[in-house]
Subunit: 200 residues, 2 copies
């Protein structure tokens, strides 16, 4: 079977990536499209644009509207939402653990659990105790944390960052369908349409 | 009759505002929502964010994806599109003329004609000859250009810029429904939904 696929690139600090992570599996199933999950760190991409922190912090009007917009979108899609007390949170550890899960079949569930910790429970996902709690809730051994600290996983995360730059990413989430780049959770439906039948 | 309304704020230099200008009237009619047209200049808002030109020029990866994204969106909605040879183009004169049209019932047609000049015909909309051609095509007397240069129209344009800042705009297009701000052509459908029945 030659099912079309979508590559979903996300940063655990990104509110709109949370929305996409919650929506993508159901939407892709209806569309008949497979999802490949790619945690990455958007920080180096922001650095390259001269930003020292999230643009939502650098540009107050943009940030204020983002909080309201995400709140509205979550209510519209019946997603849980609580504005976190900190943005951005360092998602490096979570991304490392997710990369372990990519090889073991639990990356999607883990990813959603981390996003809920950050954007519903207001927990600091940079804290190893928070990640250990999530692993326990998912029935995963805490030894996963050791594997996540391996040089191989570090190399994978680094390679993801390099691929993101090479492909011309400028934010998160980003969807890739073959060579086509779609930026932002609001492009999810178009990216899935494109995966089924490009119209251009 | 108490029809809900949407305030559509647009800049003639903005590619996504072109998409919104083409789509809004049909979508609003289906939704049973009235459209109020507000040309404004997004420049002062960009200035306030420290940007000396369009963010699509300042951030090359973002700019490259915008051009492809708009091309895809236009194809998807069956809108004409040609990438203009210059961005941004100064929309001050067009905005002044549009404000004359706001009082005379032809602002919507004029707005769409200007966007097509910029984003389909690749004409310099800052050139009074281009605006005169548009007015002629619409059957409007060229004396409109004189009225557009009046101090009253200048004051209206200035007031629009002030209102945009006061309301926390950070880009164009922006939709306002009562006190709710929606940013970006991709929020048009949500803004119309909200106008009919706020869900939060």
């Amino acid at each position: 079977m030659n099912m079309p696929a979508i590559d979903f690139w996300y940063d655990f600090a990104s509110p709109y990536s949370y929305v996409a992570a919650e929506r993508i599996e159901g939407a892709a199933r209806v569309a008949g499209v497979a999802v490949r999950w790619h945690p990455f760190l958007v920080g180096p991409i922001f650095d390259a644009q001269g930003w020292t922190t999230s643009p939502f912090n650098l540009y107050p009007a943009k940030g204020a509207n983002m909080w309201r917009d995400v709140e509205r979108i979550c209510a519209r899609y019946a997603l849980l939402w609580r504005r976190p007390s900190m943005l951005p949170r360092d998602g490096t550890l979570a991304a490392r653990v997710a990369l372990v899960g990519a090889g073991e079949g639990w990356i999607a569930n883990f990813t959603r659990a981390v996003y809920r910790a950050n954007f519903v429970e207001d927990r600091d996902i940079a804290d190893p105790a928070a990640i250990a709690d999530i692993l326990a809730r998912l029935g995963l051994a805490s030894a996963v944390l050791d594997r996540a600290s391996s040089p191989e996983i570090g190399a994978k995360l680094h390679a993801n960052a390099g691929e993101a730059v090479a492909r011309g990413f400028h934010g998160a989430p980003t969807f890739i369908v073959e060579d086509e780049l779609f930026w932002g959770s609001d492009r999810l439906d178009q990216a899935l349409e494109w995966a089924k039948a490009p119209w251009l």
